[in-house]
Amino acid sequence: MTSVIHASDLTKIFGKSTAVDHVSFEVQGGEIFGFLGPNGAGKTTTTRMLTGVIPPDTGTATILGHDIRSEPVLAKQGFGVVPETSNAYMDLTAWQNLMLMGELYGLPRSRAEQRSSDLLGMVGLLERKDQKVQAYSKGMKQRLILAMALIHEPELLFLDEPTSGLDVQSTQMILALLRDLNRQGTTIFLTTHNMEEANRLCHRVGIIRAGKIVAIDAPEKLKTAIDRVHKIEVSFDREISGDALSGLNSVTSANRTGDKWQITTQDKDATIRSLVTFSQQNSAAIVTLNTLAPSLDDAFLRLTQEAQP
């Protein structure tokens, strides 16, 4: 496998604040790499440096074997970009936007037309191809922008929060398309603040907080890395006090959610034993008892909070 994105020490400073702070990572060919972080963490700034929109203050990025600063055109020829804010030309039709992209990527006219009809069909916009983009809904615009990014069949696709603020239908369609593209060999770099999305889609995720990478690994591994914390969900057939629960041996905390109690613990086994003892002693029968798998959310929260200065 070859490295498709090689970011090394990327740094961007805006005024006094460091938006991206010595970020280094690699993305291998064929991967879906998720760049995960809360708002303002520096995901967009990193993506813009990788795609040659803004220059880094220090550090280098090599994309598909070309340095983005010294050979920008050759690097850009090989990837497609779905930027954070929608940016098709509103005064042009979907078809005209795609033809423009075709020309900017140097496709012969006939090839651009073939690709455009295929892509518009794929994103469900073929019927409305001659309508100005102005009249499109947000989801339609985003699907068009995805099609525009794919016109030249790029090996690598950058997407900056491609589903944020979209309706469920467009979101599902875009995620399914990304999976298909990846199966056909496209490498995908995707930023998101949605843990669930990263978990379902990505082979590896890099977690960024306040401009710094705090972890890079497969979602499953990130989850097991925080296996120190477990959650147990329990409910009883009668009211019991939260203090009694959180006072139990090995229980870290107990929070009420609806008719259930969510219990955090470092030791699952010990907690379940004490819950059973508790139920016998207080003659409160256990109605449900579930152990919850750690979620990427937990990993994310822990990782981003641990790094708090």
Partner: protein
């Protein structure tokens, strides 16, 4: 195909020019402005001063038409596209900043040439006789390139507020008209006026137009053409260099 090669980038610049024409030029208000501005100026000139011959004034009018139309729209394109975030799209495409700037220049050059030819035709219908057609054509071609490069130079300050740029460009464009021998013949200008006039490319274009219509000129024709060509080269290289530096600040 080498995407970074000159001919490939030239083709992509042409794609940008077509996009500009479609979005920014073939628009009702822009076209109406382009056609009516010279028409109204003709009327104003016809009703105005009688001290100077009409053919003298109309030559100046042709000069002004080309200058104003070739610099009318292009300074605002980057601010508009910066605001609409389409500039970010272009910046992530395999086109150089030079090609983007050149594409914008092609569009404004074509717009300037089109409207100026209409103006010349109106002038000829009003009885003006064209004595040196080829010279006029060459002059319009070079000057259109030159003025569109000026239009792009006016767009260099990296603001995304179109009205700022329009204000700034008016501040620069109008004084230029007064030092370029449009209202006052060069041979009647004071020495300091003439000293300013030689630095305005519009001076040489107006001189050429005057030659084409009245057979009189202040500078030798070849000097006029050479001066326009040199200005064009300097402004084109200059605007590309400056835009390359300021482009990241627009994102």
């Amino acid at each position: 195909m080498n995407p970074a090669g000159f001919s490939e980038q030239l083709l992509r610049a042409w794609a940008i020019a077509k996009k500009d024409i479609r979005i920014y030029y073939i628009k009702g208000p822009v076209l109406i402005f382009g056609v009516f501005m010279p028409l109204f100026m003709f009327l104003a000139f016809l009703m105005g001063t009688k001290q100077l011959p009409l053919s003298f004034l109309i030559s100046g009018l042709v000069g002004m038409t080309l200058f104003f139309t070739a610099t009318a729209v292009s300074p605002a394109i980057f601010p508009w596209e910066g605001q609409a975030k389409t500039l970010e799209r272009l910046a992530s495409c395999p086109v150089t900043v030079e090609a983007i700037v050149f594409g914008d220049m092609i569009a404004s050059t074509l717009f300037g040439i089109g409207i100026t030819i209409i103006t010349v035709i109106i002038g000829m219908m009003l009885g003006l006789s064209l004595l040196h057609g080829i010279t006029l054509l060459v002059a319009i071609l070079i000057a259109a390139c030159c003025f569109s490069a000026i239009g792009m130079l006016l767009a260099v300050p990296p603001t995304n507020v179109p009205s700022n740029i329009m204000m700034l460009s008016s501040l620069i464009k109008f004084p230029l008209v007064f030092i370029s021998g449009i209202f006052i013949p060069l041979d009647q200008m004071p020495a300091w006026g003439l000293a300013l006039a030689v630095f305005s490319p519009l001076t040489y274009f107006t001189d050429l137009v005057r030659y084409a219509f009245t057979d009189t000129h202040y500078f030798p024709v070849i000097i006029d053409i050479a001066a326009l060509a040199v200005f064009t080269a300097i402004f084109t290289v200059g605007t590309m260099y400056l835009h390359k530096r300021t482009m990241p600040q627009r994102m």
